[in-house]
Symmetry: C2
Subunit: 525 residues, 2 copies
């Protein structure tokens, strides 16, 4: 059985249960056996993380930046192994997806987080010089990170965005890997361990457990020594963790589900239907539809132009190969979602079944319904069917589009396509405000699947897309804020203040809010 990374050592697990990953391309189990860590091991990891936190909590951002930079280098040195292993475990294509897309994105995130930790602006240092009250976001404490199945690199529990943000904010991480790609996660953990040693991090700073029981997952996020948690994954499992963390008063940042509605206003189809068909098909089938921001709901005008749009998408869906899904669980839940949506009255336009007996795949799938039906049963009809499918909702008029928008749950994104000549402007002004309130990111004339790692990005949104509408999981420095606690210093003697709050701005690197103005200057004497 593979060892776990515990308190700075690769350690034989005391597990009595184990699991194996499988290759979705042929359904076969992969040879390595990984432990299901028992409760005592989780307690050990938390104790080691807490010990590490006692050491690092007063460190300057530079120390975390050094680790993150070394880690990015160590990942790049393992590129071939990572790409090969992830391809075996997830069936995601080696190129361009894994090697040219997700891996560089992952190291880029780590390096952006390193730069943010070094600079310090993220911590929102605020100084009121007259009252001598000063505050800053300090590290919240050891963070547990639960990674999802769909981004084995960029959201990996020990290398992805939550990990990078938690570390850059100054916190040790207890990573809980996703069971579908443990071999990939192991390689990241080896790189992280190497980087931690090279940059003199304390032993419990970065740790990895591959799997826990559900009850022990709840223990982890609610533990008194855990500062906060990050979770990306299924809504059902996430809500169980949320309940446990909430009851203990521990912040947990969740990314749970999203069907990412796309509204195509009438003028668009008159102006450029063919182009939008191509954009939609590319976005919806990208990664076999397994993106958090996959467009799973398209609202468009009923009538000939809408029908033509659906027909054009149907032709392309039937022509396109059915990609391999990440695993058997995804196939099952996709088919269950399609079934639920059909039972609620939606009509199957194409696909709807498994695609292949030898690998894990479903047909590219289209369902359709009317806005009237959608509004009559919105909860069921916005069931997430995570994978290569979508539901078209045909609206008789703008009123119906508004009604659909108002019936939406919280989502990560919402898109509005409108004609460029201004014909759709009135419709836009009616639909957009309703969409706006239900989504984290509002797009114009663009599909939602690209999530740029940029400061203004919001990869978040109202519940149930996430657990809190005020935070983003992607984008630096904003994603770091989740793993900080607001620490105020009132009348504290100058030499006892953390460097970021002293009169002299260390290195002049961080923006600070001094007496109401953002500046990199020192506090005037």
């Amino acid at each position: 059985m593979e060892p776990v990374l515990l308190n700075g050592e690769w350690t034989d697990s005391s597990a009595t249960e184990s699991f194996q990953a499988s290759n979705p391309a042929n359904g076969e189990a992969l040879p390595a056996e990984f432990p299901v860590s028992p409760r005592a091991e989780i307690e050990q990891a938390i104790a080691a993380a807490d010990a590490a936190f006692q050491v690092v909590r007063s460190w300057p951002g530079e120390r975390f930046a050094a680790f993150l930079g070394a880690f990015a280098d160590a990942i790049e040195a393992r590129t071939d192994a990572l790409v090969e292993t992830a391809n075996l475990e997830t069936a995601l294509p080696v190129s361009p997806r894994l090697r040219d897309g997700e891996l560089p994105r992952t190291t880029n995130q780590l390096r952006q987080a390193a730069a943010a930790a070094r600079e310090g602006t993220w911590a929102h240092a605020t100084i009121d010089s007259a009252a001598n009250v000063r505050s800053v976001l300090g590290p919240v404490g050891p963070v547990s990170v639960f990674g999802p199945n769909n981004f084995p690199f960029a959201f990996n529990s020990i290398a992805g965005g939550d990990f990078a943000a938690a570390v850059a904010a100054g916190n040790p991480v207890v990573a809980k890997g996703h069971s579908s790609h443990p071999g990939t996660t192991k390689l990241f953990a080896e790189a992280a361990h190497e980087a931690a040693q090279a940059t003199d991090m304390p032993p419990g700073f970065v740790q990895l457990l591959y799997r826990t029981s559900h009850a022990d997952g709840e223990l982890l996020v609610a533990h008194p020594k855990i500062g906060a948690s990050g979770y990306t994954g299924s809504r059902s499992a996430g809500l169980v963790l949320k309940k446990a963390a909430d009851a203990a008063g521990k912040p947990i940042y969740l990314e749970l589900s999203s069907i990412n509605p796309v509204f195509i206003l009438p003028g668009t189809l008159e102006e450029r239907a063919a182009a939008v068909v191509d954009e939609f098909v590319g976005s919806c089938l990208m990664g076999t539809g397994q993106f958090c921001t996959n467009p799973g709901l398209v609202v468009l005008p009923a009538g000939p132009s809408g029908d033509e749009f659906v027909a054009a998408v149907k032709a392309k869906f039937e022509e396109a190969p059915a990609g391999t899904l990440l695993g058997e669980g995804v196939r099952r839940s996709f088919l269950a979602g399609v079934k639920t949506i059909r039972e609620a009255g939606a009509e199957l336009v194409t696909g709807g079944d498994s695609a292949d007996a030898t690998r894990v795949a479903c047909q590219n799938t289209i369902l359709k319904t009317t806005a009237a039906k959608f509004v009559a049963d919105p909860e069921t009809l916005q069931t997430e069917a995570f994978g290569n499918g979508t539901l078209f909702v045909l609206a008789e008029n703008v009123d119906e589009m508004v009604a659909v928008a108002e019936a939406l749950e919280g989502n990560l994104t919402g898109c509005l396509y409108s004609d460029t000549g201004g014909l759709d402007d009135d419709a836009y002004d009616r639909v957009a405000p309703a969409v706006r309130q239900q989504v984290g990111r509002l797009l114009n004339d663009k599909m939602p699947t690209g999530v740029a790692v940029t400061a203004a990005m919001n990869h978040g949104g109202p519940f149930p897309a996430t657990g809190h509408p005020g935070f983003t999981a992607v984008g630096v420095p904003a994603s770091l804020v989740r793993f900080g606690m607001l620490q105020c210093y009132d009348n504290v003697r100058p030499h006892r203040l953390p460097p970021l709050l002293q009169d002299a701005n260390p290195g002049g690197l961080a923006w600070r809010l001094v007496d109401g103005n953002w500046t990199k200057d020192d506090v005037p004497a």
Copy 2:
């Protein structure tokens, strides 16, 4: 029965139950009868707030600023009535407390919030010009505010800090008053209604219900049309609301409890014991100990200097008059807390009983115990006894002080007193990090009861002091952030962006994070 403020009208309540406030100075019921609003009335209020939100959600900050400013003026015009009514309902002294302290603080908060709404920096506008991704904190939706008993003005549900912050962030408010001072709350609501009419706010923008059943309070914070809630009050009631809001995925910002530990390091007593005695007595008995930041736990060296300190405080506590408490509930729960702490092994030094048969009052109370006993049963020994009492914990050495600090629950504040010559520096460096992680605001050489309304203030802290360690309930602009949702605009056409995200910075008022730099400039063409 008094009417409720519903959808812009003073409306007869459909209540079948009512309640009266009582005067703590003589225990007598006050004549006015106030309704316990039934569920249908709460639903009406929420529907009206939602309708108001549809109108105001695209308004610029200036509109909310105008209302807040007019409201502050309208409050000042009612000063005499407010002060007189609040004195009758709470027994808090007219002067200096109500007239010269809390009322100006309240109008100052409203005016600071108005200035923040007008300026817009609070919304953290972030623009990445190359990617054309832009984000801002937009209004989260109608906010329900539950005010506490202990600040009838500054934390009033319809005039206090949460109200001001929610409105400045652009949200309608459904206020749920505290049952101990409904007459005071009514006067504020009259002023708010007048200001709302004078500044053309929609009818459901500001509403007041005096009381609801517990179940209906849960309905309110979990309602789909409610964006977020603010609550200040008892831990038990707050946790019930938290559970309901959490399950619905609705943010709720809670201020629940805090015993505000004070650590007096040994050199301090050698250097200036008498001065610290005076500071402590003043802080602990201020407002009859009914401040959220009242110092309820003092850790100091065992031995002659600690004993002398306790004796000196005892003398002053016995000499000082026992203030009138806010109400019978406070008296009961204070005495229950004292009983719990004594049963856990603490010794009564003075006080510990009711003070007076004709009014609601308890004796100024001191309990004491040892650090060893505290650490053996920390949960019981940090029971909050809200009122004019404190628990002294005598520590044999610095190790024991550290152990006490590590056993603390989350608190709003933590104070460390140390000598000015450097003798206590080693002790400080050991005790302070442990205190730091458990409190929102760390003070040096100063008691915690003054909470300056300043940008860097943190009136917050880890659970169970609050529900989330990242936010403050006091201080502008930071307190507004709680009532925003992160709204990102990706590739949105320029004229459709909210003014704060357009290339031209409206009025050049708001600081914005443009391409990584905080600036008030326009985005360069």
